[in-house]
């Protein structure tokens, strides 16, 4: 089932993005004089119509904060979130209209569903908020459930979450998003709490929703395999910034940023050559290193390859800057990757 996604991609590259950020920054102020945590520190990201974008990163990199900002749940400290080219207006009425068209799917469906609500109520709730209870509500609920793969839908109407399997609960949560016929869904680790055999089924559903209804998605995940499975484009985030972006093939099959390469090399059963296990953990977002934010852990700098390429000083002192979010151009925020020399042979990593 290799769905050709190119029509969707084409339209995304040609037309205006549906949902985008420009220079987005979100800082959480520190208590009692401590430095603010720059959770999102300058991100341009675009999601085109019918496009699936994977936002990949480790815990604490700011990916979930970025997702929340895209839903209007957090107000940016600087920069903006735009929907169809128009900046979000943070007034309750405007946000309500916006959230009808951009829906959220959470990681843990058990926590997201009210245990005392039937499946019918859980799915109908969002629509009731926006249009009230209408005579055709039942049809809409049935349609949303069957689009989410719960067929025949009537069989599920009166079930409670505890009577369903994990995969079925996630389908109910997705149906709850679909009933409003959104243009984009933002899914934060949509399959992380599911068993492997069920995970594939839910990912197939996301692909099918895109193919059949042109539903765009931003999938926030730590799982590179998930990005390879369903996304058109990938953005790799490290410490508040997108450090590499491009098509999934570009980013995951021909990575250029040392961080992306290291992440790929440590995947179990990776074919990407020798493991590059980075020592320690990412620094805390209250203390983002100067220069390239990755330089303190960068294996290329540590190995001397950056020195050989003549960029080591810049790595330590010069911020490689923010990447543009537009599709169609692979980009990497790394001095070494942009260095004119051919890749030095000392780099024994994946590639």
């Amino acid at each position: 089932m290799s769905a050709p996604a190119d029509p969707a991609r084409g339209s995304a590259a040609g037309g205006a993005p549906v949902l985008s950020t420009a220079g987005l920054q979100i800082a959480f102020s520190g208590r009692s004089g401590r430095a603010a945590a720059r959770a999102v520190d300058g991100v341009d990201l675009e999601i085109g119509a019918g496009e699936i974008v994977a936002l990949v990163g480790e815990s604490g990199c700011g990916k979930s904060t970025l997702a929340r900002a895209l839903l209007g749940l957090v107000r940016p400290t600087a920069g903006a979130v735009s929907f169809h080219g128009r900046g979000l207006v943070y007034r309750p009425r405007d946000l309500k209209a916006f959230r009808r068209r951009v829906q959220l799917v959470l990681q843990d469906p058990t926590g997201a569903l009210n245990p005392r609500h039937t499946v019918y109520d859980a799915v109908a709730e969002g629509r009731r908020i926006h249009t009230g209870s209408t005579a055709d509500e039942r049809d809409h609920v049935a349609e949303a459930l069957s689009r989410a793969g719960l067929r025949p839908p009537e069989r599920f109407f009166l079930r409670y979450p505890h009577e369903l399997s994990g995969g079925q609960r996630q389908r109910v949560a997705i149906a709850g998003a679909l009933i409003l016929q959104p243009e984009v869904i933002v899914a934060d680790e949509p399959v992380a709490s599911l068993d492997a055999s069920v995970r594939g089924e839910i990912l197939q559903l996301l692909l099918r929703l895109r193919d059949d209804y042109g539903l765009a998605a931003l999938v926030v995940t730590h799982d590179l395999g998930l990005a390879w499975n369903i996304a058109d484009r990938a953005a790799v985030m490290y410490l508040g910034r997108v450090v590499e972006t491009g098509t999934v093939e570009e980013v995951l099959a021909a990575p250029r940023h040392p961080y992306t390469r290291a992440l790929l090399s440590v995947l179990p059963e990776s074919s990407a050559g020798e493991q590059q296990i980075l020592a320690g953990e990412p620094p805390d977002p209250t203390r983002i290193p100067a220069g390239c934010r990755f330089h303190v852990r960068c294996p290329v700098l540590a190995s001397g390859a950056a020195q050989a390429a003549g960029v080591a000083d810049r790595c330590r002192s010069e911020d490689p800057g923010m990447l543009g979010g537009s599709p169609g151009v692979a980009q990497v925020a790394c001095h070494w990757a942009h260095a004119p020399e051919p890749e030095p042979a000392e780099w024994a990593g994946p590639g």
Binding site: M1, S2, A3, S197, Q204, G225, E249
Partner: protein, 385 residues
Amino acid sequence: MKQSTPAGATGERPAPATADAGGRYLEVDDLSVSYRTAGGEIPAVRGVSFGLEPGRKLGVAGESGCGKSTVALALLRLLPRSARTSGSVLLDGEDVLAMRWGRLRAVRWSGASIVFQGAMHALNPVQRVGGQIAEPLLVHGRADPAQARGQAAELLEQVGLPAWRARSYPHELSGGQRQRAMIAMALACRPQLIVADEPTTALDVMIQAQILRLIDELVAGLDISMLMISHDLSVLAETCDRLAVMYAGRIVEEGPAEEVFAAARHPYGAALSAAFPRVGDPASRRAPRGLPGDPPDPAELPSGCAFHPRCPEAQERCSRVDPLLWPAGADRSAACVRVLTPEQERAAGVPPADEGGGADRGHTAEPDPDGAAPAQARPHPQEWS
């Protein structure tokens, strides 16, 4: 019903060619565990057998509810009171399930120790890490308090944490650091076996890689055995020597880790393996693979092979034959009728596949076994004799 494991169920494990008599530190034989509930007795583990040599790593893979964690807990008799266990768990020749309480306490930590998932819940939040690592040493009378403190510091360094971390509380450590502390604790009494239940599940990929490398070095350096339990087949394939895949309380496939991951013989093993995408492999690009349906309710297991309702390769006979772990190639076994040759089918008393839809067998339309009644009693012989 004693889960239809026939009288000779111990023979379920085909003696592997490499089996060295008595060389195993751990030998689990026909282990079954059921939980007593208001609704009756629910089987969680149904006749599991495996062994582990010193210095070797066995991975047990499976999804939620397959019984893999119950196996881990049963090895050290850590199950709740509602559990009923049968079979045997020989640890260095001694049956853990038959041990007296005092002996069991001595074996825990020093003979075999366990590393749990999510060290946040396994560590005591109001006690400093160093004290927790020293505790088993003190309880087992291996050291006086001053020595125990010194050893705790050494253990922390051995797992890659600075010695001053002994003074930290668990909440002051990151997830990866807590898991390292947990491993230090498990190593404290120099056990010969470590049972690791989902040791890296809640961790990021990079931290996971750090922990797996640490485990690898420790197991190799200290020549201990390890049983690693995980839902992540790819992690186990990378880390372990051998791999057992569990489904509905049984081991359905067993063999060298790489081979099982790359080319499983049991359809469930194959589906589980395919569910882990290989980044860079065009075959899994835009093609997430899963398995329709859900694992069976252990209280209402399907007839025959417990996997047959979800099995993409199911044949008509699968609803009647409860398959055993049969030899499936060199040093491998699988609990699926499809791995049998016609001769083996006859010997095992399994009906041939001619009536089913399974056209994918190498040898089709074999002349019927000359009416031979199954030599040994097998699950439901009356149904096909």
